[in-house]
């Protein structure tokens, strides 16, 4: 547990000092919103299209952080240090998942209000989006931490992470967009099958956190 907190604290401290992940993610999201405005040629979004734009933007922005989450470990020998330390390597998976979840939630705190400002008429849908986006962030973080380890250790780093992550994220996108679509409907938030989608997101989170925790040892093992 102390290992987890130490790694998480280290990552957050680096992030606070250099803003290497959050600042690019926020900038990326804002730009992608502008791109969608012109690509779709719509000034206001609602329903399925609004949910799609939001979820897609957050997913692609998350790739930036996922690609970088192990960069300091690779460049400064953090993987060797964790093997030398008495700390359980699985703690590293949990710490990285926690760090990514925090980055993604912080990103959502910036990008979702911006999205509402750009494309929505009112902010009344935002509270209902919160549980969906938090569960999606956790799932994406767990898969991202796992995939990023594999990608970091391979010779095709930047290529492999999106290639592996995007197909794995499809159920997450289905559920998040499925829940967000009625919530963002123009006539005020709807909650059609909201609970079902939250359950799917929760199941996804549990499965990939458990798998990641179970197999992470083997990814670091030399």
């Amino acid at each position: 547990m102390s290992g987890l907190l130490a790694i998480l604290g280290k990552d957050l401290r680096i992030e606070l000092r250099a803003w290497r992940s959050l600042a690019p993610m926020a900038l990326f999201s804002a730009t992608v919103f502008v791109i969608f405005r012109f690509a779709l040629d719509r000034e206001r979004l609602e329903g399925g299209i609004a949910a799609g734009v939001l979820v897609t933007t957050l997913l692609f922005a998350s790739l930036l952080a996922i690609n970088r989450i192990f960069i300091s470990e690779r460049e400064e020998g953090g993987f060797d240090l964790i093997r030398l330390s008495p700390c359980d390597p699985s703690m590293m998976f949990l710490a990285k998942t926690a760090a990514l979840t925090i980055y993604l939630i912080l990103l959502e705190l910036i990008a979702v209000p911006l999205f509402a400002l750009f494309f929505l008429d009112s902010a009344e849908a935002l509270p209902a989006l919160a549980p969906v986006l938090v569960l999606a962030a956790l799932g994406l973080a767990a898969v991202g931490a796992l995939i990023s380890t594999i990608a970091t250790m391979s010779s095709a780093r930047d290529l492999l992470a999106p290639l592996l992550l995007l197909p794995l994220s499809i159920p997450l996108v289905i559920a998040a967009a499925g829940a967000a679509s009625p919530v963002l409907e123009a006539g005020g938030p709807g909650f059609e099958r909201y609970g079902t989608w939250l359950a799917v997101l929760g199941l996804y989170d549990v499965i990939f956190c458990a798998i990641g925790f179970a197999v992470f040892d083997y990814l670091l093992d030399e």
Binding site: M153, T196, V215
Partner: protein
């Protein structure tokens, strides 16, 4: 070598016999579908291929777990070959599904058939297995990471099916959604024969690929023994070259260096 029940030639013969019988039954025994007519017969090919591909993916995940537990390269080779053959089967599933969609609904691709859409997603995921293996030089690490992938993807298969099915708002009738219970007896029997036949073919292909890999490993070992100075042209491959205990791999493997 004694001919065993599970040897490749036995499996091939059995597959050929059962598939011939099955296709014979498809055309001469099973009745025409009242609703879809002749095109429904692609069901006897499409569905067994899909089921075997899915089973192959899941068994590959189980061999992934076995590899991580035992470190026996033979398990990694099995996992690889299962995924390889399942990806080939999945390709044929997408092609036959597309043909069926064209004949039944007039379009080459439809998004409201959850099984087909799930298959596309799974196919896209497993297609990344090759670049993953290819981009890891170290053989042992390659096997470990490939096993982790097989486990993650194996768990992803049922989850993905569930999510895609839930996303399907339209409930439209499917011949096989009700399983054998919805089929008349003669159709169910024909389906079963085709299912077993294609399953035998699946395992025969797996057996052949494993044998081929084993032979290639043995051949390069002999090459090295006979002509230690001969440097075979280096070919980088995503496939496992180390097949474990069945092939004795001495420590005399020359270090080819890394690319």
């Amino acid at each position: 070598m004694k001919a065993r029940l599970t040897s490749a030639p036995t499996l091939v013969t059995a597959a050929a016999v059962v598939i011939t019988a099955g296709f014979g039954m498809v055309f001469f025994y099973a009745p025409l579908d009242a609703d879809q007519g002749f095109i429904q017969k692609i069901f006897y090919l499409h569905v067994p291929l899909a089921i075997w591909a899915l089973l192959g993916f899941i068994i590959a995940g189980i061999y992934g777990i076995k590899y991580l537990r035992t470190n026996d390269p033979a398990h990694d080779a099995r996992s690889y070959v299962l995924i390889h053959q399942s990806v080939i089967f999945a390709t044929t599933v997408l092609i036959t599904g597309s043909i069926w969609a064209k004949a039944a609904w007039g379009k080459w691709w439809i998004w409201d058939e959850p099984t087909l859409v799930s298959f596309l997603i799974i196919f896209l995921l497993y297609a990344t297995y090759y670049p993953l293996r290819y981009s890891i030089e170290d053989r042992e690490r390659q096997a470990r990471y490939a096993s982790v992938f097989a486990i993650v993807a194996g768990a992803f298969v049922p989850l993905n099916f569930m999510a895609v099915r839930l996303a399907e708002s339209l409930i439209h009738p499917r011949t096989f959604a009700t399983a054998e219970g919805g089929l008349p007896g003669s159709m169910a029997l024909t389906f079963l024969v085709c299912f077993i036949g294609l399953g035998l073919m699946f395992f025969a292909l797996i057996k052949f690929e494993l044998e081929a890999k084993r032979t290639a490993a043995e051949l390069s070992r002999l090459e090295r023994q006979l002509a230690p100075d001969y440097e075979a042209p280096y070919r980088r491959t995503a496939a496992p070259t180390d097949l474990g205990a069945s092939v004795s791999m001495e420590a005399d493997r020359p270090d080819r260096g890394s690319l």
